[in-house]
Protein backbone atom coordinates (compact mmCIF):
# COMPACT_ATOMS: atom_id res chain seq x y z
CA UNK A 1 0.00 0.00 0.00
CA UNK A 2 2.90 2.38 0.62
CA UNK A 3 3.52 2.42 -3.13
CA UNK A 4 -0.07 3.16 -4.11
CA UNK A 5 0.51 6.90 -4.38
CA UNK A 6 3.28 6.24 -6.91
CA UNK A 7 0.83 4.37 -9.15
CA UNK A 8 -1.99 6.86 -8.74
CA UNK A 9 0.13 9.99 -9.11
CA UNK A 10 1.50 8.69 -12.40
CA UNK A 11 -2.03 8.15 -13.66
CA UNK A 12 -2.86 11.78 -12.94
CA UNK A 13 0.25 13.00 -14.72
CA UNK A 14 -1.58 13.21 -18.06
CA UNK A 15 -5.22 13.27 -17.10
CA UNK A 16 -6.55 13.45 -20.64
CA UNK A 17 -4.45 10.50 -21.76
CA UNK A 18 -5.46 8.45 -18.75
CA UNK A 19 -9.11 9.33 -19.29
CA UNK A 20 -8.94 8.42 -22.98
CA UNK A 21 -7.20 5.12 -22.27
CA UNK A 22 -9.69 4.25 -19.54
CA UNK A 23 -12.41 5.39 -21.94
CA UNK A 24 -11.17 2.89 -24.55
CA UNK A 25 -11.54 0.16 -21.97
CA UNK A 26 -14.96 1.46 -20.97
CA UNK A 27 -16.21 1.40 -24.57
CA UNK A 28 -14.75 -2.06 -25.21
CA UNK A 29 -16.18 -3.48 -22.00
CA UNK A 30 -19.55 -1.85 -22.64
CA UNK A 31 -19.56 -3.64 -25.98
CA UNK A 32 -18.47 -6.85 -24.28
CA UNK A 33 -21.35 -6.49 -21.83
CA UNK A 34 -23.91 -5.95 -24.57
CA UNK A 35 -22.53 -8.86 -26.63
CA UNK A 36 -22.70 -11.05 -23.54
CA UNK A 37 -26.32 -10.00 -23.07
CA UNK A 38 -27.17 -10.79 -26.70
CA UNK A 39 -25.38 -14.12 -26.50
CA UNK A 40 -27.18 -14.90 -23.25
CA UNK A 41 -30.49 -13.97 -24.85
CA UNK A 42 -29.88 -16.43 -27.68
CA UNK A 43 -28.54 -19.13 -25.40
CA UNK A 44 -31.19 -18.67 -22.74
CA UNK A 45 -33.47 -21.34 -24.24
CA UNK A 46 -30.56 -23.76 -24.27
CA UNK A 47 -29.51 -22.97 -20.73
CA UNK A 48 -32.93 -23.39 -19.15
CA UNK A 49 -33.96 -26.46 -21.16
CA UNK A 50 -35.10 -29.34 -18.98
CA UNK A 51 -32.76 -32.32 -19.01
CA UNK A 52 -35.66 -34.76 -18.74
CA UNK A 53 -37.71 -33.29 -21.59
CA UNK A 54 -37.71 -34.31 -25.24
CA UNK A 55 -39.29 -32.42 -28.12
CA UNK A 56 -41.01 -34.34 -30.91
CA UNK A 57 -41.33 -32.49 -34.23
CA UNK A 58 -42.39 -33.33 -37.74
CA UNK A 59 -39.33 -34.74 -39.52
CA UNK A 60 -39.99 -32.59 -42.61
CA UNK A 61 -39.95 -29.22 -40.90
CA UNK A 62 -40.79 -27.44 -37.72
CA UNK A 63 -43.75 -25.79 -39.44
CA UNK A 64 -45.30 -29.12 -40.46
CA UNK A 65 -47.83 -30.37 -37.87
CA UNK A 66 -48.23 -33.75 -36.21
CA UNK A 67 -51.50 -35.59 -35.61
CA UNK A 68 -53.15 -35.23 -32.22
CA UNK A 69 -53.45 -39.00 -32.21
CA UNK A 70 -49.72 -39.28 -31.53
CA UNK A 71 -50.33 -38.05 -27.98
CA UNK A 72 -51.68 -41.36 -26.71
CA UNK A 73 -49.10 -43.40 -28.64
CA UNK A 74 -46.29 -41.35 -27.14
CA UNK A 75 -47.76 -41.73 -23.66
CA UNK A 76 -47.72 -45.49 -24.01
CA UNK A 77 -44.02 -45.74 -24.72
CA UNK A 78 -42.14 -47.21 -21.75
CA UNK A 79 -39.99 -44.53 -20.10
CA UNK A 80 -42.29 -41.64 -21.06
CA UNK A 81 -44.04 -40.19 -18.01
CA UNK A 82 -45.80 -37.13 -19.38
CA UNK A 83 -46.89 -35.72 -22.73
CA UNK A 84 -48.05 -32.26 -23.72
CA UNK A 85 -48.29 -30.38 -26.97
CA UNK A 86 -48.49 -26.86 -28.31
CA UNK A 87 -48.90 -24.94 -31.52
CA UNK A 88 -47.25 -21.77 -32.75
CA UNK A 89 -49.86 -19.09 -33.42
CA UNK A 90 -47.97 -16.14 -34.85
CA UNK A 91 -50.58 -13.39 -34.44
CA UNK A 92 -50.09 -9.63 -34.43
CA UNK A 93 -51.11 -7.48 -31.51
CA UNK A 94 -51.86 -3.92 -32.67
CA UNK A 95 -48.64 -3.61 -34.68
CA UNK A 96 -46.23 -6.09 -36.30
CA UNK A 97 -43.41 -4.64 -34.24
CA UNK A 98 -45.11 -5.88 -31.07
CA UNK A 99 -43.68 -9.34 -31.47
CA UNK A 100 -44.06 -11.92 -28.72
CA UNK A 101 -44.38 -15.72 -28.83
CA UNK A 102 -47.95 -17.01 -28.76
CA UNK A 103 -48.64 -20.69 -28.10
CA UNK A 104 -51.87 -22.59 -28.24
CA UNK A 105 -51.32 -25.10 -25.43
CA UNK A 106 -52.90 -28.25 -24.12
CA UNK A 107 -54.69 -26.94 -21.04
CA UNK A 108 -54.65 -30.31 -19.32
CA UNK A 109 -50.95 -31.02 -19.35
CA UNK A 110 -48.90 -27.94 -20.18
CA UNK A 111 -48.64 -26.54 -16.64
CA UNK A 112 -47.36 -29.84 -15.24
CA UNK A 113 -44.75 -30.09 -17.96
CA UNK A 114 -43.23 -26.67 -17.15
CA UNK A 115 -43.09 -26.31 -13.37
CA UNK A 116 -40.55 -23.48 -13.80
CA UNK A 117 -43.46 -21.26 -14.85
CA UNK A 118 -45.40 -20.42 -11.71
CA UNK A 119 -49.07 -19.39 -11.66
CA UNK A 120 -51.62 -19.47 -8.85
CA UNK A 121 -54.21 -22.24 -8.83
CA UNK A 122 -57.04 -19.70 -8.86
CA UNK A 123 -55.75 -18.02 -12.01
CA UNK A 124 -55.13 -21.35 -13.68
CA UNK A 125 -58.66 -22.49 -12.89
CA UNK A 126 -60.00 -19.25 -14.33
CA UNK A 127 -58.00 -19.94 -17.48
CA UNK A 128 -59.35 -23.48 -17.74
CA UNK A 129 -62.86 -22.19 -17.34
CA UNK A 130 -62.72 -19.66 -20.14
CA UNK A 131 -62.55 -20.89 -23.74
CA UNK A 132 -61.02 -17.57 -24.79
CA UNK A 133 -58.78 -17.39 -21.75
CA UNK A 134 -55.08 -16.60 -21.94
CA UNK A 135 -52.14 -16.72 -19.58
CA UNK A 136 -49.27 -14.30 -20.11
CA UNK A 137 -45.77 -13.97 -18.65
CA UNK A 138 -45.17 -11.14 -16.22
CA UNK A 139 -42.63 -9.43 -18.51
CA UNK A 140 -45.16 -9.43 -21.34
CA UNK A 141 -47.92 -8.14 -19.04
CA UNK A 142 -45.57 -5.41 -17.86
CA UNK A 143 -44.64 -4.53 -21.44
CA UNK A 144 -48.21 -3.93 -22.57
CA UNK A 145 -49.54 -2.92 -19.14
CA UNK A 146 -52.00 -5.85 -19.24
CA UNK A 147 -53.79 -6.97 -16.15
CA UNK A 148 -56.09 -9.84 -15.37
CA UNK A 149 -59.49 -9.32 -16.95
CA UNK A 150 -58.18 -7.36 -19.93
CA UNK A 151 -59.44 -8.36 -23.35
CA UNK A 152 -56.68 -8.63 -25.92
CA UNK A 153 -57.37 -8.63 -29.66
CA UNK A 154 -54.85 -10.49 -31.85
CA UNK A 155 -54.90 -10.61 -35.63
CA UNK A 156 -54.12 -14.08 -36.93
CA UNK A 157 -51.53 -14.48 -39.65
CA UNK A 158 -51.10 -18.26 -39.94
CA UNK A 159 -54.67 -18.75 -38.74
CA UNK A 160 -56.58 -15.85 -40.29
CA UNK A 161 -59.19 -13.81 -38.46
CA UNK A 162 -59.53 -11.57 -35.47
CA UNK A 163 -58.96 -13.47 -32.28
CA UNK A 164 -59.83 -12.11 -28.88
CA UNK A 165 -58.53 -13.40 -25.58
CA UNK A 166 -59.26 -12.69 -21.93
CA UNK A 167 -56.23 -12.46 -19.67
CA UNK A 168 -56.99 -14.95 -16.89
CA UNK A 169 -53.55 -15.40 -15.38
CA UNK A 170 -50.01 -14.05 -15.21
CA UNK A 171 -47.14 -16.47 -14.70
CA UNK A 172 -43.65 -15.74 -13.43
CA UNK A 173 -40.41 -17.67 -13.80
CA UNK A 174 -38.72 -19.49 -10.93
CA UNK A 175 -35.33 -18.41 -12.23
CA UNK A 176 -34.25 -15.03 -13.54
CA UNK A 177 -33.51 -16.50 -16.95
CA UNK A 178 -36.94 -18.11 -17.39
CA UNK A 179 -38.79 -16.58 -20.32
CA UNK A 180 -41.78 -14.60 -19.11
CA UNK A 181 -42.69 -13.05 -22.45
CA UNK A 182 -44.94 -15.86 -23.67
CA UNK A 183 -48.63 -15.74 -24.39
CA UNK A 184 -50.58 -18.98 -23.91
CA UNK A 185 -54.13 -19.75 -24.89
CA UNK A 186 -56.14 -22.91 -25.21
CA UNK A 187 -55.37 -25.24 -28.12
CA UNK A 188 -58.97 -26.50 -28.17
CA UNK A 189 -60.08 -22.91 -28.92
CA UNK A 190 -57.64 -22.75 -31.81
CA UNK A 191 -58.62 -26.15 -33.14
CA UNK A 192 -62.27 -25.22 -33.00
CA UNK A 193 -61.89 -21.99 -34.93
CA UNK A 194 -59.16 -22.75 -37.43
CA UNK A 195 -60.21 -23.52 -40.95
CA UNK A 196 -57.51 -26.04 -41.83
CA UNK A 197 -55.34 -28.62 -40.14
CA UNK A 198 -57.88 -29.62 -37.55
CA UNK A 199 -56.67 -32.29 -35.14
CA UNK A 200 -53.06 -31.32 -35.76
CA UNK A 201 -50.55 -29.94 -33.25
CA UNK A 202 -47.27 -28.12 -33.73
CA UNK A 203 -45.05 -30.31 -31.58
CA UNK A 204 -45.05 -32.55 -28.57
CA UNK A 205 -43.00 -32.22 -25.45
CA UNK A 206 -42.54 -35.35 -23.38
CA UNK A 207 -41.01 -35.98 -20.01
CA UNK A 208 -38.93 -39.08 -19.57
CA UNK A 209 -38.33 -41.00 -16.38
CA UNK A 210 -34.57 -41.18 -16.76
CA UNK A 211 -32.57 -38.48 -18.58
CA UNK A 212 -29.80 -41.05 -19.20
CA UNK A 213 -32.30 -42.97 -21.29
CA UNK A 214 -32.83 -40.06 -23.71
CA UNK A 215 -30.74 -41.42 -26.59
CA UNK A 216 -32.57 -44.75 -26.60
CA UNK A 217 -35.99 -43.12 -26.33
CA UNK A 218 -35.27 -40.70 -29.19
CA UNK A 219 -34.61 -43.75 -31.36
CA UNK A 220 -37.66 -45.65 -30.11
CA UNK A 221 -40.01 -42.73 -30.76
CA UNK A 222 -38.75 -41.94 -34.25
CA UNK A 223 -38.84 -45.64 -35.19
CA UNK A 224 -42.40 -45.88 -33.98
CA UNK A 225 -43.52 -43.21 -36.43
CA UNK A 226 -41.21 -44.17 -39.26
CA UNK A 227 -42.85 -44.71 -42.68
CA UNK A 228 -45.98 -42.88 -41.52
CA UNK A 229 -47.42 -39.78 -43.26
CA UNK A 230 -46.00 -37.70 -40.39
CA UNK A 231 -42.59 -39.03 -39.44
CA UNK A 232 -41.07 -37.54 -36.34
CA UNK A 233 -37.75 -36.02 -35.39
CA UNK A 234 -37.14 -36.22 -31.68
CA UNK A 235 -34.47 -34.35 -29.78
CA UNK A 236 -33.65 -33.30 -26.30
CA UNK A 237 -35.11 -29.94 -25.40
CA UNK A 238 -31.57 -28.57 -25.10
CA UNK A 239 -30.62 -29.75 -28.59
CA UNK A 240 -33.89 -28.40 -29.93
CA UNK A 241 -33.22 -24.98 -28.41
CA UNK A 242 -29.65 -25.05 -29.73
CA UNK A 243 -30.81 -25.89 -33.25
CA UNK A 244 -33.25 -23.02 -33.03
CA UNK A 245 -30.40 -20.66 -32.23
CA UNK A 246 -28.33 -22.13 -35.06
CA UNK A 247 -30.99 -21.18 -37.54
CA UNK A 248 -30.04 -17.57 -36.88
CA UNK A 249 -26.42 -18.30 -37.75
CA UNK A 250 -23.44 -18.88 -35.52
CA UNK A 251 -24.16 -16.10 -33.08
CA UNK A 252 -21.39 -17.08 -30.70
CA UNK A 253 -18.78 -17.09 -33.47
CA UNK A 254 -19.96 -13.68 -34.59
CA UNK A 255 -19.79 -12.34 -31.04
CA UNK A 256 -16.38 -13.90 -30.47
CA UNK A 257 -15.08 -12.40 -33.72
CA UNK A 258 -16.30 -8.91 -32.90
CA UNK A 259 -15.01 -9.18 -29.35
CA UNK A 260 -11.60 -10.45 -30.44
CA UNK A 261 -11.08 -7.64 -32.94
CA UNK A 262 -12.11 -5.03 -30.38
CA UNK A 263 -9.84 -6.39 -27.67
CA UNK A 264 -6.88 -6.90 -29.97
CA UNK A 265 -7.19 -3.29 -31.10
CA UNK A 266 -7.48 -2.22 -27.48
CA UNK A 267 -4.36 -4.19 -26.67
CA UNK A 268 -2.38 -2.40 -29.38
CA UNK A 269 -3.70 1.05 -28.52
CA UNK A 270 -3.08 0.65 -24.79
CA UNK A 271 0.31 -0.96 -25.33
CA UNK A 272 1.35 1.96 -27.51
CA UNK A 273 0.04 4.49 -25.00
CA UNK A 274 1.94 2.83 -22.17
CA UNK A 275 5.09 2.64 -24.29
CA UNK A 276 4.86 6.40 -24.87
CA UNK A 277 4.21 6.98 -21.17
CA UNK A 278 7.28 4.94 -20.23
CA UNK A 279 9.45 6.68 -22.81
CA UNK A 280 8.44 10.06 -21.42
CA UNK A 281 9.44 8.95 -17.94
CA UNK A 282 12.73 7.31 -18.84
CA UNK A 283 14.73 9.67 -16.65
CA UNK A 284 12.38 9.34 -13.68
CA UNK A 285 12.44 5.57 -13.86
CA UNK A 286 16.23 5.74 -14.01
CA UNK A 287 16.25 7.90 -10.89
CA UNK A 288 14.05 5.38 -9.09
CA UNK A 289 16.55 2.69 -9.97
CA UNK A 290 19.48 4.88 -8.99
CA UNK A 291 18.07 5.39 -5.50
CA UNK A 292 17.63 1.65 -5.09
CA UNK A 293 14.34 0.51 -6.58
CA UNK A 294 14.78 -2.86 -8.25
CA UNK A 295 14.06 -3.82 -11.86
CA UNK A 296 11.19 -5.96 -10.60
CA UNK A 297 9.70 -2.99 -8.77
CA UNK A 298 9.80 -0.83 -11.90
CA UNK A 299 8.23 -3.67 -13.88
CA UNK A 300 5.45 -4.02 -11.32
CA UNK A 301 4.91 -0.25 -11.15
CA UNK A 302 4.28 0.09 -14.89
CA UNK A 303 2.06 -2.99 -15.00
CA UNK A 304 0.12 -1.80 -11.97
CA UNK A 305 -0.56 1.52 -13.69
CA UNK A 306 -1.94 -0.22 -16.78
CA UNK A 307 -4.02 -2.61 -14.74
CA UNK A 308 -5.53 0.19 -12.67
CA UNK A 309 -6.52 2.07 -15.84
CA UNK A 310 -7.93 -1.13 -17.35
CA UNK A 311 -9.79 -1.97 -14.17
CA UNK A 312 -11.35 1.48 -13.81
CA UNK A 313 -12.27 1.68 -17.51
CA UNK A 314 -13.59 -1.86 -17.50
CA UNK A 315 -15.70 -1.30 -14.41
CA UNK A 316 -17.20 1.86 -15.90
CA UNK A 317 -17.99 0.09 -19.20
CA UNK A 318 -19.57 -2.91 -17.51
CA UNK A 319 -21.49 -0.63 -15.15
CA UNK A 320 -22.91 1.25 -18.13
CA UNK A 321 -23.79 -2.03 -19.84
CA UNK A 322 -25.62 -3.15 -16.70
CA UNK A 323 -27.51 0.14 -16.55
CA UNK A 324 -28.40 -0.27 -20.22
CA UNK A 325 -29.86 -3.73 -19.62
CA UNK A 326 -31.92 -2.53 -16.67
CA UNK A 327 -34.11 -0.70 -19.18
CA UNK A 328 -35.11 -4.07 -20.58
CA UNK A 329 -35.21 -5.54 -24.07
CA UNK A 330 -34.70 -2.69 -26.56
CA UNK A 331 -35.72 -4.85 -29.55
CA UNK A 332 -39.41 -5.04 -28.78
CA UNK A 333 -39.51 -8.71 -27.89
CA UNK A 334 -36.80 -10.36 -30.02
CA UNK A 335 -34.50 -10.74 -27.00
CA UNK A 336 -36.82 -11.48 -24.09
CA UNK A 337 -33.96 -12.48 -21.81
CA UNK A 338 -32.04 -9.19 -21.85
CA UNK A 339 -29.96 -9.55 -18.73
CA UNK A 340 -26.27 -9.11 -17.85
CA UNK A 341 -25.45 -11.78 -15.27
CA UNK A 342 -22.85 -11.34 -12.55
CA UNK A 343 -20.71 -14.05 -14.09
CA UNK A 344 -20.42 -12.02 -17.32
CA UNK A 345 -19.49 -8.91 -15.32
CA UNK A 346 -16.74 -10.84 -13.54
CA UNK A 347 -15.53 -12.33 -16.83
CA UNK A 348 -15.47 -8.88 -18.40
CA UNK A 349 -13.53 -7.44 -15.50
CA UNK A 350 -11.05 -10.31 -15.64
CA UNK A 351 -10.71 -9.80 -19.40
CA UNK A 352 -10.03 -6.07 -18.90
CA UNK A 353 -7.33 -6.85 -16.33
CA UNK A 354 -5.73 -9.47 -18.57
CA UNK A 355 -5.70 -7.04 -21.51
CA UNK A 356 -4.26 -4.40 -19.18
CA UNK A 357 -1.56 -6.82 -18.06
CA UNK A 358 -0.72 -7.82 -21.63
CA UNK A 359 -0.69 -4.21 -22.82
CA UNK A 360 1.59 -3.19 -19.99
CA UNK A 361 4.03 -6.06 -20.11
CA UNK A 362 6.22 -4.93 -23.01
CA UNK A 363 6.58 -1.30 -21.88
CA UNK A 364 7.12 -2.57 -18.35
CA UNK A 365 9.84 -4.94 -19.48
CA UNK A 366 11.59 -2.19 -21.40
CA UNK A 367 11.36 0.03 -18.29
CA UNK A 368 12.75 -2.68 -16.06
CA UNK A 369 15.65 -3.34 -18.44
CA UNK A 370 16.56 0.32 -18.58
CA UNK A 371 20.22 0.95 -17.76
CA UNK A 372 20.43 3.81 -15.31
CA UNK A 373 23.59 5.26 -16.83
CA UNK A 374 22.17 5.25 -20.36
CA UNK A 375 18.85 6.67 -19.27
CA UNK A 376 20.39 9.51 -17.30
CA UNK A 377 22.65 10.37 -20.22
CA UNK A 378 19.63 10.74 -22.54
CA UNK A 379 17.52 13.87 -23.01
Amino acid sequence: MKYLHLVLSNLFRKKTRTALTAGSFAVALFLFGILAVVDGAFQQGVDVAGVDRLVVLNRVSIIQPLPLAYRDRLARIAGVTQVTFANWFGGVYQDERNFFPQFAIDRESYRQMYPEFVISDAEWQAFLGDREGAVVGEALAERFKWKIGDRVPVKGTIFPGNWEFNIRGIYRGKRVQDDTTQFWFRWDYLDERKTFGKGQVGWYTIRIANPDDAVRLVKVIDEQFANSPAETKTDTEKAFAASFVKQMGNIQLLIMSIGSVVFFTLLLVTGNTMAIAVRERTRELAVLKAVGFSDAFVLALVIAETIVVAGIGGAVGLGLAKLFTLRGDPTGGLLPFFYLPGSAILSGLALALVVGLMAGILPALSASRLRVVDALRRI
Partner: protein, 241 residues
Amino acid sequence: MVRIDGRGDGNSLIRARGLGKTYRRGGEEIHVLQGLNLDVDAGDFVAFMGPSGSGKTTLLNLLGGLDVPSVGSVTVAGDEITRMSARKLTTWRARHVGFVFQMYNLIPVLTAFQNVELPLLLTNLAKADRRRHVETALAVVGLGDRMHHYPRQLSGGQEQRVGIARAIVADPTFLLCDEPTGDLDRKSADEVLELVDRLVREHGKTVLMVTHDPLAAERARVVLHLEKGVLVDTVTAGRAR
Protein backbone atom coordinates in the same frame (compact mmCIF):
# COMPACT_ATOMS: atom_id res chain seq x y z
CA MET B 1 42.93 12.14 3.22
CA VAL B 2 42.67 11.63 -0.55
CA ARG B 3 45.33 9.75 -2.54
CA ILE B 4 45.54 8.87 -6.22
CA ASP B 5 48.76 6.89 -6.15
CA GLY B 6 47.27 3.60 -5.00
CA ARG B 7 49.17 3.69 -1.73
CA GLY B 8 46.27 4.19 0.65
CA ASP B 9 46.59 2.55 4.03
CA GLY B 10 43.59 0.30 3.59
CA ASN B 11 41.40 2.27 5.99
CA SER B 12 39.90 4.46 3.26
CA LEU B 13 36.12 4.61 2.99
CA ILE B 14 36.28 4.44 -0.80
CA ARG B 15 39.08 2.66 -2.58
CA ALA B 16 39.46 2.24 -6.35
CA ARG B 17 42.27 0.18 -7.84
CA GLY B 18 43.29 -0.03 -11.48
CA LEU B 19 39.89 1.26 -12.50
CA GLY B 20 39.26 1.35 -16.23
CA LYS B 21 36.22 1.77 -18.44
CA THR B 22 36.23 1.11 -22.13
CA TYR B 23 33.33 1.68 -24.49
CA ARG B 24 33.09 0.17 -27.91
CA ARG B 25 31.61 2.43 -30.54
CA GLY B 26 31.46 0.83 -33.95
CA GLY B 27 34.78 -0.91 -34.34
CA GLU B 28 36.56 1.59 -32.17
CA GLU B 29 37.43 1.22 -28.49
CA ILE B 30 37.17 4.35 -26.38
CA HIS B 31 39.08 4.27 -23.12
CA VAL B 32 37.14 6.62 -20.88
CA LEU B 33 39.05 5.74 -17.70
CA GLN B 34 42.42 4.08 -17.48
CA GLY B 35 44.18 2.49 -14.52
CA LEU B 36 42.74 4.88 -12.03
CA ASN B 37 43.55 4.61 -8.30
CA LEU B 38 41.74 6.54 -5.63
CA ASP B 39 41.48 6.52 -1.85
CA VAL B 40 38.92 8.72 -0.08
CA ASP B 41 38.51 8.81 3.67
CA ALA B 42 35.21 9.24 5.48
CA GLY B 43 34.29 12.91 5.87
CA ASP B 44 36.23 14.06 2.80
CA PHE B 45 34.77 16.51 0.30
CA VAL B 46 36.31 15.81 -3.11
CA ALA B 47 35.68 17.69 -6.34
CA PHE B 48 36.47 16.22 -9.74
CA MET B 49 37.22 18.68 -12.50
CA GLY B 50 38.28 18.28 -16.06
CA PRO B 51 37.21 18.95 -19.62
CA SER B 52 34.09 17.38 -21.12
CA GLY B 53 34.70 13.74 -21.99
CA SER B 54 37.51 13.37 -19.48
CA GLY B 55 35.57 10.66 -17.61
CA LYS B 56 34.30 12.55 -14.54
CA THR B 57 30.71 11.32 -14.67
CA THR B 58 31.82 7.82 -15.63
CA LEU B 59 34.03 7.74 -12.54
CA LEU B 60 31.14 8.89 -10.38
CA ASN B 61 28.89 6.21 -11.88
CA LEU B 62 31.46 3.51 -11.14
CA LEU B 63 31.98 4.68 -7.56
CA GLY B 64 28.20 4.82 -7.04
CA GLY B 65 27.56 1.36 -8.43
CA LEU B 66 25.49 2.66 -11.34
CA ASP B 67 27.92 1.19 -13.84
CA VAL B 68 30.50 -1.58 -13.79
CA PRO B 69 34.15 -1.07 -14.73
CA SER B 70 35.84 -2.89 -17.59
CA VAL B 71 38.83 -3.54 -15.31
CA GLY B 72 39.74 -2.81 -11.72
CA SER B 73 37.83 -2.75 -8.48
CA VAL B 74 35.90 -0.42 -6.22
CA THR B 75 35.64 -1.11 -2.52
CA VAL B 76 33.39 0.91 -0.24
CA ALA B 77 33.52 0.44 3.53
CA GLY B 78 35.09 -2.96 3.00
CA ASP B 79 32.53 -4.17 0.39
CA GLU B 80 33.92 -4.75 -3.09
CA ILE B 81 30.99 -3.50 -5.11
CA THR B 82 32.51 -4.49 -8.44
CA ARG B 83 31.94 -8.15 -7.52
CA MET B 84 28.28 -7.68 -6.62
CA SER B 85 25.39 -8.92 -8.76
CA ALA B 86 23.16 -6.27 -10.29
CA ARG B 87 20.45 -7.11 -7.79
CA LYS B 88 22.75 -6.86 -4.81
CA LEU B 89 24.22 -3.66 -6.16
CA THR B 90 20.74 -2.10 -6.30
CA THR B 91 20.20 -2.95 -2.65
CA TRP B 92 23.66 -1.67 -1.81
CA ARG B 93 23.02 1.66 -3.55
CA ALA B 94 19.83 2.17 -1.59
CA ARG B 95 21.73 1.75 1.66
CA HIS B 96 25.04 3.49 0.93
CA VAL B 97 24.76 6.12 -1.82
CA GLY B 98 22.93 9.42 -2.05
CA PHE B 99 22.75 10.86 -5.56
CA VAL B 100 22.43 14.54 -6.40
CA PHE B 101 21.90 15.23 -10.10
CA GLN B 102 22.49 18.31 -12.22
CA MET B 103 18.87 18.35 -13.44
CA TYR B 104 17.53 17.65 -9.91
CA ASN B 105 15.52 14.73 -11.33
CA LEU B 106 12.58 15.10 -9.01
CA ILE B 107 9.39 13.23 -9.88
CA PRO B 108 7.09 16.06 -11.03
CA VAL B 109 3.87 14.40 -9.90
CA LEU B 110 5.11 13.93 -6.35
CA THR B 111 5.35 16.65 -3.70
CA ALA B 112 8.69 17.61 -2.17
CA PHE B 113 7.78 15.40 0.80
CA GLN B 114 6.98 12.41 -1.42
CA ASN B 115 10.14 12.88 -3.48
CA VAL B 116 12.28 12.91 -0.37
CA GLU B 117 10.41 9.92 1.03
CA LEU B 118 11.24 7.72 -2.02
CA PRO B 119 14.45 6.11 -0.66
CA LEU B 120 12.70 5.40 2.65
CA LEU B 121 9.99 3.37 0.90
CA LEU B 122 12.67 0.75 0.43
CA THR B 123 13.20 0.45 4.17
CA ASN B 124 11.06 -1.17 6.83
CA LEU B 125 10.40 2.12 8.56
CA ALA B 126 6.84 2.75 9.69
CA LYS B 127 4.93 5.61 8.12
CA ALA B 128 5.37 7.85 11.18
CA ASP B 129 9.13 7.19 11.21
CA ARG B 130 9.40 7.93 7.52
CA ARG B 131 7.57 11.19 8.08
CA ARG B 132 9.96 12.16 10.86
CA HIS B 133 13.01 11.41 8.70
CA VAL B 134 11.62 13.34 5.73
CA GLU B 135 10.74 16.36 7.85
CA THR B 136 14.22 16.34 9.34
CA ALA B 137 15.89 16.13 5.92
CA LEU B 138 13.73 18.94 4.54
CA ALA B 139 14.50 21.02 7.64
CA VAL B 140 18.25 20.48 7.10
CA VAL B 141 17.97 21.87 3.56
CA GLY B 142 15.74 24.73 4.77
CA LEU B 143 12.55 23.64 3.04
CA GLY B 144 10.46 22.52 5.99
CA ASP B 145 7.75 24.93 4.90
CA ARG B 146 7.70 23.72 1.30
CA MET B 147 7.18 20.02 1.83
CA HIS B 148 3.75 19.90 0.19
CA HIS B 149 4.82 21.87 -2.85
CA TYR B 150 5.27 20.18 -6.20
CA PRO B 151 8.55 20.66 -8.08
CA ARG B 152 6.89 23.06 -10.52
CA GLN B 153 6.04 25.30 -7.56
CA LEU B 154 9.68 25.54 -6.50
CA SER B 155 12.62 27.53 -7.84
CA GLY B 156 15.60 25.73 -9.38
CA GLY B 157 17.64 26.20 -6.21
CA GLN B 158 14.80 24.88 -4.07
CA GLU B 159 14.38 21.88 -6.36
CA GLN B 160 18.05 21.06 -5.97
CA ARG B 161 17.76 21.35 -2.21
CA VAL B 162 14.88 18.87 -2.32
CA GLY B 163 17.17 16.65 -4.40
CA ILE B 164 19.81 16.93 -1.67
CA ALA B 165 17.22 16.14 1.01
CA ARG B 166 16.31 13.02 -0.97
CA ALA B 167 19.99 12.10 -1.14
CA ILE B 168 20.57 12.38 2.60
CA VAL B 169 17.23 11.19 4.01
CA ALA B 170 18.30 7.56 4.33
CA ASP B 171 21.62 8.61 5.87
CA PRO B 172 23.82 7.06 3.16
CA THR B 173 27.52 6.35 3.55
CA PHE B 174 28.45 8.98 0.98
CA LEU B 175 26.98 11.47 -1.47
CA LEU B 176 27.70 11.66 -5.19
CA CYS B 177 26.92 15.02 -6.74
CA ASP B 178 27.03 15.29 -10.52
CA GLU B 179 27.26 18.98 -11.46
CA PRO B 180 24.83 19.94 -8.67
CA THR B 181 25.03 23.65 -9.57
CA GLY B 182 25.29 23.25 -13.33
CA ASP B 183 21.71 24.36 -13.91
CA LEU B 184 21.52 27.10 -11.31
CA ASP B 185 22.16 30.84 -11.21
CA ARG B 186 25.09 32.04 -9.10
CA LYS B 187 23.05 32.90 -6.02
CA SER B 188 21.19 29.57 -5.98
CA ALA B 189 24.43 27.75 -6.74
CA ASP B 190 26.09 29.36 -3.75
CA GLU B 191 23.20 28.38 -1.50
CA VAL B 192 23.39 24.78 -2.67
CA LEU B 193 27.16 24.67 -2.26
CA GLU B 194 26.86 26.15 1.19
CA LEU B 195 24.41 23.40 2.04
CA VAL B 196 26.71 20.66 0.73
CA ASP B 197 29.58 22.21 2.61
CA ARG B 198 27.50 22.24 5.79
CA LEU B 199 26.64 18.56 5.34
CA VAL B 200 30.37 17.82 5.33
CA ARG B 201 31.33 20.14 8.19
CA GLU B 202 28.37 19.66 10.53
CA HIS B 203 27.11 16.21 9.68
CA GLY B 204 30.36 14.54 8.72
CA LYS B 205 29.15 13.45 5.31
CA THR B 206 31.55 12.22 2.64
CA VAL B 207 30.92 14.01 -0.66
CA LEU B 208 32.30 13.37 -4.14
CA MET B 209 31.31 16.06 -6.59
CA VAL B 210 31.81 16.49 -10.31
CA THR B 211 31.84 20.10 -11.44
CA HIS B 212 32.95 22.42 -14.18
CA ASP B 213 32.57 25.40 -11.91
CA PRO B 214 35.86 26.56 -10.27
CA LEU B 215 33.88 28.38 -7.57
CA ALA B 216 32.08 25.17 -6.75
CA ALA B 217 35.35 23.27 -6.67
CA GLU B 218 36.68 25.90 -4.24
CA ARG B 219 34.27 24.55 -1.64
CA ALA B 220 35.85 21.08 -1.71
CA ARG B 221 38.77 20.10 0.47
CA VAL B 222 40.47 18.35 -2.41
CA VAL B 223 40.16 18.95 -6.14
CA LEU B 224 41.16 16.14 -8.49
CA HIS B 225 41.73 16.78 -12.17
CA LEU B 226 40.89 14.25 -14.80
CA GLU B 227 42.34 14.32 -18.27
CA LYS B 228 41.66 11.67 -20.87
CA GLY B 229 40.58 9.20 -18.25
CA VAL B 230 43.52 9.68 -15.93
CA LEU B 231 43.69 11.48 -12.60
CA VAL B 232 46.55 13.87 -13.11
CA ASP B 233 46.90 15.82 -9.90
CA THR B 234 45.49 16.57 -6.48
CA VAL B 235 45.00 20.07 -5.25
CA THR B 236 44.09 20.91 -1.72
CA ALA B 237 41.58 23.67 -2.04
CA GLY B 238 38.84 25.69 -0.45
CA ARG B 239 38.40 25.78 3.29
CA ALA B 240 41.08 23.19 3.87
CA ARG B 241 43.68 25.33 2.18
